[in-house]
Symmetry: none
Subunit: 226 residues, 2 copies
């Protein structure tokens, strides 16, 4: 479970980070809105903790921008002021929860858990076998049944396919694919992913030229329709 923590005060940031990490979350921190948006565009997070008072771009704007491209990832706002108006603004901008500083750490952790519990209830189960439209894939043995009978997936193929299946019906960005399947710093913009998608289409699509399952969302990434 990956958390993006956006907070400019170092002390708070470190304490919260530490505590989240003790609960086995993977935490990425940002100290201002710009960095927050940068990280968010490039990586996948399961939840965002967002301080409102940030230098330059404030938390509301960050939340609004996040919501322009992603409406699923839960966002929790943190603020020093306990102004009701603020809370309403935050919720309107698409925040899912709101906590006032100084907050109780236990409450924060409970609320984060809550958000995750609710948002990840459906796509959580990832069985070894997956079936779609007459095709079968066994992620344990890498065996798959495609248009031309049974064959074996390669390791990377299996990883990528699993990622797409786990996130079926949502768009997975290239950055996220690279991060999950290839590891972090595969910098050079690469066409490798495309080729894997290409293979999948050949394996599984009725008409590889007109894909219905492995869709490309231009400028964003790929989406598997299950």
């Amino acid at each position: 479970m990956r958390v993006l923590l956006v907070e400019d005060e170092e002390n708070i940031r470190e304490v919260v980070k530490l505590n989240l990490e003790m609960e086995n979350y993977e935490v990425v921190t940002a100290i201002d809105g710009k960095m927050a948006l940068k990280h968010f565009r490039e990586q996948h997070f399961d939840v965002v903790l967002l301080d409102v008072m940030l230098p330059e771009i404030d938390g509301f704007q960050v939340c609004e921008q996040i919501r322009l491209t992603d409406m699923k990832t839960p966002v929790m706002m943190l603020t020093a002021k306990d102004a009701v108006g603020d809370r309403v603004t935050g919720l309107k901008k698409g925040a899912d929860d709101y906590l006032t500083k100084p907050f109780n750490l236990e409450e924060l952790l409970l609320r984060v858990n809550n958000l995750l519990k609710r948002s990840s209830q459906s796509p959580k189960n990832s069985p070894e076998m997956y079936e779609f439209g007459g095709h079968k894939v066994n992620f344990a043995t890498f065996e798959a049944e495609g248009n031309n009978g049974t064959f074996t997936l390669t390791k990377k193929e299996a990883m990528l396919l699993k990622l797409l299946v786990d996130r079926k019906n949502e768009v997975v960005s290239r950055q996220q694919i690279l991060q999950s399947v290839w590891g972090y710093d595969v910098y050079p913009s690469t066409r490798t992913i495309d080729n894997f998608i290409l293979s999948f289409r050949k394996y599984f699509e009725e008409n590889p030229k007109k894909p219905t399952r492995f869709l490309s969302i231009r400028g964003v990434g790929y989406k598997f329709v299950g």
Copy 2:
């Protein structure tokens, strides 16, 4: 959408009930824990609003009882005391959210909406669908239904359209559009926005020359009428 409202103070109960009904919720009220549990056993609710201070059985206990048989239905606790310990107790007992009295009605409604949005996790439910005047837009997949059938929005189109829809019926200035959609250090020429608006009008307006939805507010920006 059915709400179970548990609150012993008549005034609060009635005000909240009225407001929820104005938002088209069906509201069932209970004045104490016993009645609350009775109703909950006998009927289906999509969300429970639960005062903590109740005669006989308090809100914590009600919540605990509910959770014994139902892990799913979101519960929101309301309390007069703003004790952190209370909040933590509530969350631990299985509450999904917590609001302190005196609460702001708008905030309550927003939070209720939030809970419902999150919990209505029917698989194919795309909560990021928007409809207006016979047209549909799916902001998750960028698919839209316009004057000439279904088509796919581009990334920027989707972002701008979403911004306008999010702020429907209010004017969004060019500045704000540039900041939100294009970012904080990249500024395209100001005619770029016009071109996107132009597209939207072609896609969605009955008579693109006489727009009724994508209105230009001279000297300020644009307004989407939903």
